[in-house]
């Protein structure tokens, strides 16, 4: 179409003095932005096609390229912003739902940035994690049984006792950070493998999403949370029993109430084997589970999965953070879940309708605070662990999340960024230049899982060290003493209402 109503979002600056026509940019762009003219020995770039993934810029050996965000040239209009104009033009072109990828980029309040953490001074010594033990080992699972002990010896022999209770199944995490559910299909095998290998290397867990468990990842099964989603892809008894835990996915923060759709062209032979569906067919996850229309149905599924795994694995439920999240979470716990995963408004996705992603759900900070509080009020907090997800960006977000009441966090977007993602939000196109959200073998090989694994391990290590530093600063040497410890949090520039939902005091207020 000759008539172009949309504007290019990016501007490609190529410094001709630096460009050596090596064509690395040409070879790296899956969007065909760069084109080499061999007659004139120059490269011409079409910024209209650019998605702003910065792959070419990162690869250019001479620094000749700069990808700049282009300011919208439409006449300024506070109401009809460029964003709306673009969407309208595009929808008029295509007549479909506006798709997008990754988490919402809209400026909803980010409460993490309005919460400050505490440190010890004088009355209480801070602890140096380099010199003192600092424990961040975390257990996920039900913690509600009564422990029974047998006395095994006579009193004069001293203390001798034997545990006479089998603990509910627990996941043992060396750090309270896990990798979110990202399916093989939505991301590449190499990305899955990196997540799996890093989990296993560090002693934490990753989640299969609804993509099934690839045969080549069986060796990491001990660090795998297998998800059972509405499509039931890849689910059989073997799958359930291989995993370390089972997670029933009801909803996802980026698209509450919406199912999933992996287009047939992405269902390669490998993915078809892993998901147990015919090659080339669309993989459609329905919006609801059609066997769960109410809480008692969920309870049945939880118990069915526990039976299927002989009560040896924790079974949890993942929901999006929606308005009624506290009672929903309570219901899930009462339905028998060993953990509840709550995915917040800013959670990522491979593909979601923009309207849903940017307008449905609530921020995870408020959700975790109200869920934790509600479960405690009901005296059932210890019956399940709370996992949260939805844009945990740093170790300080983790610390704050735990102090608000989470047992551990899931990180998805952060993990992808570590593997190269530049948040261009074009996951749904399958043309990810970083080899992550794609199944094109030309692109998937760009993510060397050895590098991916190393970088993820480094991330886990770095965050764990930072968590330890912050814990030590607050005079705490075990992560469990931070859990729900909102005394260590203070809010800044947020309303009383928000403070009260978060259950924290304002900065400046003492204990």
């Amino acid at each position: 179409m000759a008539l172009k109503l949309t504007e290019s979002e990016f501007e490609i600056e190529r410094d001709p003095d630096k460009c050596i026509s090596c064509q690395v940019c040409v070879r790296q762009c899956s969007n065909d932005v760069h084109d080499f003219d061999s007659d004139d020995d120059i490269i011409i770039s079409d910024s209209q096609k650019c998605v702003g993934c910065h792959r070419c810029e990162s690869m250019c050996p001479t620094g000749a390229l700069k990808i700049k965000e282009r300011e919208a040239q439409f006449k300024t209009n506070a109401n009809w912003s460029a964003h709306h104009l673009h969407n309208l033009y595009k929808q008029a072109d295509a007549g479909g739902v506006m798709l997008t990828g990754m988490g919402s980029d809209k400026p909803y309040p980010i409460y993490w940035d309005h919460i400050l953490f505490n440190a010890s001074q004088v009355t209480n010594p801070s602890i140096d994690p380099l010199r003192e033990p600092m424990e961040i080992k975390t257990f996920i699972g039900k913690k509600s049984q009564e422990l029974k002990f047998d006395n095994t010896g006579e009193e004069e022999k001293g203390f001798s006792i034997k545990l006479n209770t089998r603990l509910s199944p627990q996941l043992e995490l060396s750090t309270p950070i896990m990798f979110s559910a990202m399916s093989y299909g939505s991301i590449s095998f190499n990305a899955c493998r990196s997540l799996a290998a890093a989990s296993s290397g560090f002693g934490t867990y990753y989640n299969t999403g609804e993509g099934g468990l690839h045969r080549d990842l069986y060796k990491y099964a001990g660090n795998t949370i297998v998800q059972v989603a509405s499509g039931r892809f890849g689910v059989d008894a073997d799958y359930l029993n291989r995993g370390a835990a089972v997670e029933i996915k009801i909803g996802q923060g980026a698209k509450p109430g919406i199912g999933g759709h992996l287009p047939g062209e992405k269902v390669t032979r490998d993915i078809s084997n892993t998901r147990m569906i015919p090659q080339g067919t669309d993989a459609i996850s329905p919006a609801p589970h059609h066997d769960i229309y109410s809480i008692e149905d969920l309870s049945q599924l939880i118990h069915a999965l526990k039976e299927a795994t002989r009560w040896k694995k924790p079974v949890g439920v993942k929901v999006s953070a929606v308005h009624n999240i506290a009672p929903i979470a309570s219901g899930i716990v009462r339905a028998g879940a060993d953990f509840v995963t709550i995915d917040g408004l800013r959670g990522g996705t491979g593909a979601a309708p923009q309207a849903i992603r940017d307008n449905v759900g609530i921020p995870i900070e408020l959700a975790v605070a109200s869920v934790d509080e509600r479960l405690r009020e009901e005296g059932i907090r210890h019956r399940a662990s709370i996992l949260i997800a939805g844009s945990i960006r740093s170790s300080s977000d983790v610390i704050k999340a735990i102090a608000l009441g989470a047992d551990a966090v899931y990180i998805g977007t952060a993990a992808l960024i570590v593997m190269g993602c530049h948040l261009c939000q074009k996951c749904y196109t399958g043309k990810c230049n970083w080899g992550i959200a794609t199944q094109d073998p030309y692109l998937t090989k760009r993510l060397n899982p050895e590098i991916g694994t190393r970088r993820l391990l480094n991330l886990l290590r770095a965050w764990s060290l930072e968590i330890k530093e912050m814990l030590g600063g607050a005079g705490i040497n075990a992560i469990e003493s931070l859990r729900g410890n909102r005394e260590h949090l203070r809010g800044v520039s947020i309303s009383d209402r928000e403070l009260s939902i978060l259950g924290i005091k304002h900065a400046g207020e003492p204990w």
């Binding site: 009355t123 209480n124 913690k143 545990l163 210890h382 607050a474 003493s481 260590h488 204990w511």
Partner: protein, 408 residues
């Protein structure tokens, strides 16, 4: 300074008790405890002597004592110490008492005038029997098990009552609610408080004491230590960094922390874990000062499994941060340091007597030639148990714990 500070907040605390409930006040402290494991009673003067030696660990804003075995004439009855801001509060509270208990005897707690102890509240003690309407009294279950269960119910009832009064009646505060024991505390240096309450005239087999160094200037008698509930009394030196976690943990079991003090939450943790959940005294340190995971890994298999399970289930009960505590009850004295020993604590034994103190000097003062003196490691409990034989059972909080062992 205090008034300036409080004016910062939109709604000022109604009274000092509310102030204490709203703000956690860190404090440095002195603690001291003596137990005669044979159950032989002795005068409170030695404990006053001991705590007075650690005067510089206090700043005159709080001192107190817990004494066990001091009311043998009411051995099987509830002994309440209540402080009142005014007569109005007293009559309200006594109404409540009358509804729930049969008051066997009540009197003002005898005191003497002492320089440095000013403006005492109204101090009263009551000896009570549960009213016959209590469900436990209707219980016709026989045998030890049934008795234990009815005892637990009665204790739960007392806990509820204490919480109701302390939360609900402005100006009334129950500071002690056990049997054959009492807590004496107030604003002042501990030795002055001891003199004020004439403690040299009491004889008990277990005494604990506390001198306080709070970082605020509000004086409220109820805020002094020891903190008590049922037979439990807790004296504590330290600041619990895990307070928020611990508080919300016990709140899930119905304990409302009204005072925002570490001592209060420690008391509730003991009540929950030892009395209600019947965890063996020998295991409690694995919860409150849980061993490091590394240490657990190195333990013999049976103990490792026990320690691991306790730590997994009771993670939120871990007391993190510096502390040394002495928990008193009719049956035992239990002293514990935080797991990496960030606060001092020394213990000594001489014949049947067990001594625990923040420092060694007071031990040497009251017990010049101990059999031995040691500094317990972080997380290593010091436990003294009553060794009396042929005593009537049924009035000892600690018995519930022992009961469980027998059951297995």
């Amino acid at each position: 300074m205090d008034s300036c500070k409080t004016q910062l907040y939109k709604c000022e605390p109604k009274n000092t008790q509310e102030y204490f409930s709203r703000f956690r006040i860190p404090s440095g402290c002195a603690i001291f405890g003596i137990m005669d494991e044979a159950g032989t009673a002795f005068s409170g003067s030695s404990v006053i002597d001991g705590i007075s030696l650690m005067r510089e660990r206090s700043n005159g804003l709080g001192g107190g004592f817990a004494a066990y075995g001091i009311y043998p004439q009411y051995e099987d009855d509830w002994a309440f110490h209540i402080l009142y801001d005014d007569k109005e509060a007293k009559s309200q509270a006594e109404d409540e008492l009358g509804k729930s208990f049969k008051v066997l005897f009540s009197e003002e707690i005898p005191t003497r005038k002492v320089i440095g102890v000013e403006d005492p509240p109204i101090l009263y003690r009551y000896f009570l029997k549960s009213a016959s309407s209590l469900p436990s009294r209707k219980d016709n279950v026989n045998g030890a098990d049934g008795e234990a269960r009815s005892r637990t119910r009665e204790e739960d009832y007392i806990v509820d009552f204490v919480m109701r009064v302390n939360r609900g009646i402005t100006g009334a505060y129950i500071i002690s609610s056990g049997k054959n024991m009492g807590i004496f505390k107030g604003v002042g240096y501990p030795e002055d408080i001891g003199n004020f309450f004439r403690l040299e005239q009491y004889r008990g087999h277990l005494w604990t004491s506390h001198g306080r160094f709070p970082t605020n200037s509000v004086g409220w008698w109820g805020g002094a230590h020891p903190f008590g509930l049922l037979d439990w009394s807790v004296v504590h030196n330290g600041e619990i960094s895990s307070y928020g976690t611990n508080k919300r943990f016990v709140s899930g079991f119905g304990y409302e922390c009204t005072l925002s003090t570490d001592t209060e939450v420690i008391t509730y943790l003991f009540d929950l874990i030892a009395r209600k959940q019947k965890v063996d005294l020998e295991l409690i340190h694995m919860i409150l000062a849980a061993p490091l995971w590394d240490e657990i890994e190195r333990m013999p298999e049976d103990i490792k499994q026990a320690a691991r399970a306790l730590r997994i289930l009771y993670g939120s009960a871990l007391l993190n941060g510096p502390f040394s505590i002495i928990v008193g009850s009719n049956e035992f004295m239990y002293a514990l340091n935080d797991r990496i020993k960030l606060r001092p604590m020394t213990a000594a034994r001489k014949d049947d007597r067990l001594y625990v103190a923040s420092e060694e000097a007071p031990l040497r003062l009251v017990c010049p030639s101990p059999d031995y003196v040691w500094r317990p490691g972080g997380g290593e409990p010091v436990i003294g148990r009553i060794k009396r034989a042929g005593k009537k059972e049924g009035h000892k909080a600690g018995a519930a714990v022992k009961q469980q062992d027998k059951g297995k």
